[in-house]
């Protein structure tokens, strides 16, 4: 008989359910002993988000908040946290794969009570998904279980192609035999097994369209690359997948984005972690990732290096930076991991020229140029920024 669900799923479930159970039964034990039930949860505030110089990661600090049910200001959040935990637990032991939207709907209901004077008090467990999402993050931080560990699915948009075989669930998938399509990175990348691989580096492209172009011209075949796209801001699964490629297969990771602060930040999220989700950086970030381009020097050149674009092309392709871009660049300038010499230079040129460039502009110069000149040149010359 064929297994409907994979073994790895079942193991993951058991493990997550047990951790969740132990953590929340402690609260019940406290109540049984007449002690106030208190959750100690690492604080998810900017002030408790710390850049770890050694690990080169954005991590949560050691500050914790005590969520005591008896504290009137915390009572509702406490209720929401236990409610959400019980729903996740219930899903785990019942072999379900809820999405965060499912969890929102499963927990959402009205609490109605009538006091002795006959007055009715009504309140929803939560109103918007923002609230229940935030509670899920609380549980992740409280239990040190990521949502993927708890088999909670979310919409993922990352894709990968390349000469490698993986096992997902009970199936083996050959990532080199997907035709014009690509493999959608699953929401639980930790449950993927790497079987074998024939590649020398990983190229992560911000834009899905550029990913498809490189795929079709056979870029990954020619250069033995694993080609990945995050299709914009990277989601958790894509980040985890890239991290595993780097950590477990020792492949160097290059990031290719637009030449603007938004692109830099995508690189930053891959490499350092995001400020909002710093609690998961340790597992999602790839501290060895390199910013391949497009860089300001690529556009304008400098004393040592000739620009990839001609004066004429610059006039045609360059877009004037907006105030928001300038502001963003000034913020990024202050992040410790953007304080290297090369990044300083990059940002300085941007602020001086007030110009940005989309990666498509490079493709406009010619897809052949992008795939077979620009990218391999830069990789061969070690022309990247970290």
């Amino acid at each position: 008989m064929t297994e409907l669900t994979s073994k790895v799923d079942i193991e993951a479930r058991k493990k997550a359910a047990e951790i969740l159970r132990q953590k929340f039964l402690k609260l019940k034990e406290a109540i049984d002993q007449g002690e106030p039930p208190i959750m100690e949860i690492p604080k998810r505030t900017l002030s408790n988000t710390i850049y770890d110089e050694n690990k080169k990661l954005l991590l949560l600090g050691s500050a914790k908040l005590k969520r005591n049910f008896l504290d009137l200001n915390e009572a509702k959040r406490f209720m929401q946290t236990t409610l959400m935990a019980s729903i996740i637990y219930d899903a785990l032991i019942n072999n379900e794969y809820p999405t965060i939207r499912d969890l929102y709907y499963r927990g959402k209901h009205s609490i109605v009570i009538k006091d002795p004077s006959g007055k009715t008090h009504e309140e929803n467990t939560w109103d918007e998904q923002k609230e229940s999402d935030s509670v899920i993050v609380d549980i992740e931080v409280f239990t040190s279980l990521l949502r993927e560990d708890m088999l909670i699915l979310s919409k993922e948009k990352g894709k990968v192609v390349g000469d490698m075989r993986i096992r997902s669930g009970n199936d083996v998938i050959d990532l080199s035999k997907l035709g014009h399509g690509a493999y959608s990175i699953e929401p639980t990348p930790d449950l993927i097994d790497f079987i074998d691989i024939n590649a020398e580096f990983v190229l992560v492209v911000e834009k899905d369209a550029v990913f498809q172009q490189l795929h079709r011209v056979g870029f990954w075949k020619k250069y033995k690359a694993i080609l990945v796209t995050s299709a914009g801001q990277p989601d958790r699964a894509t980040r985890r997948f890239v991290r595993r490629l780097n950590e477990e297969l020792k492949l160097p990771v290059y990031i290719l984005t637009d030449a603007d602060p938004y692109g830099w930040y995508i690189y930053s999220v891959f490499r350092i972690g995001s400020i909002n989700l710093s609690y998961e950086s340790e597992r999602l970030a790839t501290p060895n990732a390199r910013f391949l381009g497009v860089s300001m020097v690529d556009i304008f050149g400098d004393g040592k290096k000739k620009a990839y674009l001609t004066e004429q092309e610059r006039r045609n392709f360059i877009i004037k930076a907006k105030d928001a871009d300038i502001k963003r660049a000034q913020e990024i300038m202050n992040y410790p991991w953007f304080k290297s010499e090369s990044w300083k230079k990059e940002i300085d040129i941007f602020l001086k020229k007030k110009a940005k460039l989309e990666i498509e502009a490079m493709a406009s110069k010619g897809l052949q140029f992008l795939a077979f000149t620009y990218i391999p040149d830069k990789i061969n010359n070690g022309d990247y920024i970290i």
Binding site: L20, L25, G34, I111, I113, D115, H121, T125
Partner: protein
């Protein structure tokens, strides 16, 4: 011989009052009806509670002659009755107060019901009818009386008696009055209600001309201590009074003996000192004193500072317990408090102020507090706004006592008892501004209000705690059910799951009650119904 006696002969007091009825409250037909009821009811109360009898008072007003608007008023009580030989004088002769002993009484004018009899005669022919039987009397006496106005003498039209088989005692008086029920209706009802508030030991039945019957039941058998008769205090003396007292003395005693005999707080030594100061020979006979000497004596008595303060034995308070009881019964408030202050003195007259406060409950909402004024146990119904009590109530910042918003659900009751109430006007409905009294009234109200403030603060605290409790009660079932899921994963085992849910709920409630410092929280929580789906 005496100046005072000569005055009587110049004009009959009866004639004087007939000419000036407004001085005793008979300004118009409406007021006359109200005033007559009031005189009779107050006589009835004086004949009962002062003598430790629980009052039963029946009041009937009937319209006898619609065209002339003549009303028949009957008030019957179960008091001590009137000895038959005094009845003609009690109802048919207008006299100044007969005795110079002092005590607090309800009858305010010294002529009381006689003014009503006079007024009655002015507009119609029927005499006043009195049926009375003193305590332990074997007979019941019946009189029909008029007043000979020029001679100030009773005219007895009929006099009879019957055997008192049922040992009845009390007095029933019937007077015919030219009145105006429509215009006095509200005041009469108000007067009776307010009377009842401070005499909850009385049973009062009132039948109005429209046939409505109001019954005020007795709700306690506690009667306040009656006032004792005391001699006047020398600080309260005036020339007229001094002359009157002397005139009344049958024996021609020495002035020194007279001072000791006639006043409180005066002994051998004090009398000697006062007379030395007044430069009057202590052995001089009282009837030989000159007008000049009397003036000097009066002034000396007034100024002398070493008299003991006047005794308050002559005063009869209502008492905190009865005030609270009456206010509760009539207004059904959420909270009452009452205060009886210690005796104080103004111008030689002892006085005591009492105050009561009722708050919330069934008290109607209003822009102003309801003010109930009493003087010597008589409700003052007219001219509220010119009274010193009103002024004080207006000046008090009620917000400081926890009353919020611009709507009041508040009753403020003030009782002033004194051997001399400083009325502002001849109508004797308004207490005037006497500094000592004003201060005492303010203190009394504020003392009662402080109790209210404590109550409201306590209540707010409790409401605040209940509000918090409601928040917890909303979440406790959710938290309990959620945590129980980790213990009983199998949803099929409903019995076990529910028992664990209940266990957690109970424990959480205990924790919350400890946190909020609430007692009987479990009782309260039980009354809260969870209706969540």
């Amino acid at each position: 011989m005496s100046v005072a006696k000569e005055k009587f002969t110049q004009i009959s007091p009866a004639e004087f009052f007939k000419k000036n009825p407004e001085l005793v409250g008979f300004t118009n037909p409406a007021r006359a009806l109200y005033q007559t009821i009031r005189e009779l009811v107050e006589n009835s109360l004086d004949a009962t509670d002062v003598h430790n009898i629980l009052p039963v008072i029946k009041i009937t007003i009937e319209l006898k002659d619609e065209e002339k608007q003549i009303y028949r008023i009957n008030v019957e009580d179960n008091g001590i009755g009137i000895p038959p030989q005094y009845v003609p004088y009690a109802f048919g002769q207008v006299l100044y107060s007969s005795k110079y002993v002092y005590r607090q009484t309800r009858g305010m004018y010294g002529l009381g019901v006689k003014a009503a009899v006079l007024y009655s005669q002015m507009h119609q022919d029927k005499p006043v009818e009195v049926v009375t039987s003193p305590l332990n009397s074997k007979r019941i006496y019946k009189f029909k009386i008029k007043i000979d106005i020029t001679k100030n003498e009773p005219i007895i039209l009929e006099r009879s008696s019957i055997s008192n088989v049922n040992n009845w005692h009390g007095t029933s008086v019937t007077i015919y009055i030219y009145g105006d029920w429509i215009r006095s209706k509200q005041k009469i009802y108000e007067y009776l209600k307010r009377t009842y508030i401070i005499t909850p030991y009385a049973e009062i039945i009132f039948k109005d001309p429209e046939g409505n019957v109001v019954y005020y039941p007795r709700i306690t058998t506690t009667i306040p201590k009656p006032p004792q008769e005391v001699k006047p205090h020398p600080h309260g003396v005036d020339l007229e009074m001094l002359k009157g007292m002397i005139a009344q003395q049958k024996t021609n005693m020495t002035i020194k003996e007279f001072l000791i005999e006639g006043f409180q707080s005066v002994g051998e030594v004090t009398a000697q000192k006062v007379l030395e100061l007044a430069n009057i020979n202590p052995e001089k006979k009282i009837h030989d004193l000159t007008e000049q000497e009397l003036v000097v004596l009066m002034n000396t008595l007034k100024k002398y500072e070493d008299f003991r303060p006047p005794t308050a034995d002559s005063l009869s308070v209502i008492g905190e317990e009865l005030i609270e009881l009456g206010l509760k019964k009539i207004f059904n408030p959420e909270f009452v408090s009452a205060v009886t202050r210690k005796p104080k003195v103004y111008q030689g007259h002892p006085f005591i102020v009492e105050a009561g406060i009722a708050y919330g409950g069934s008290i109607p909402q209003a822009k102003e507090p309801i003010v109930l004024r009493y003087a010597n146990k008589i409700p003052l119904v007219y001219d509220e706004k010119s009274d010193v009590v009103w002024k004080i109530v207006e000046e008090i910042d009620w917000k400081r006592y926890g009353i919020e918003g611009d709507q009041y659900q508040l009753v403020v009751m003030v009782h002033l008892c004194s051997t001399k109430v400083p009325y502002k006007t001849a109508g004797k409905e308004v207490i005037g501004d006497v500094e000592e009294i004003e201060k005492e009234i303010r203190n009394a109200i504020m003392e009662a209000a402080r109790k209210l403030r404590l109550y409201i603060a306590e209540k707010r605290k409790e409401e605040e705690a209940k509000k918090k409790l409601i928040t917890y009660l909303k979440y406790i079932p959710e938290v309990s059910r959620s945590l129980a899921v980790f213990e009983v994963a199998n949803k099929e085992d409903v019995v076990k799951l529910n028992s664990i849910v209940n266990e957690i709920q109970t424990k959480l409630l205990e924790l919350v009650s400890k946190r909020l410092e609430l007692k009987d929280i479990l009782e309260y929580a039980k009354q809260v119904k969870v209706e969540s789906e």
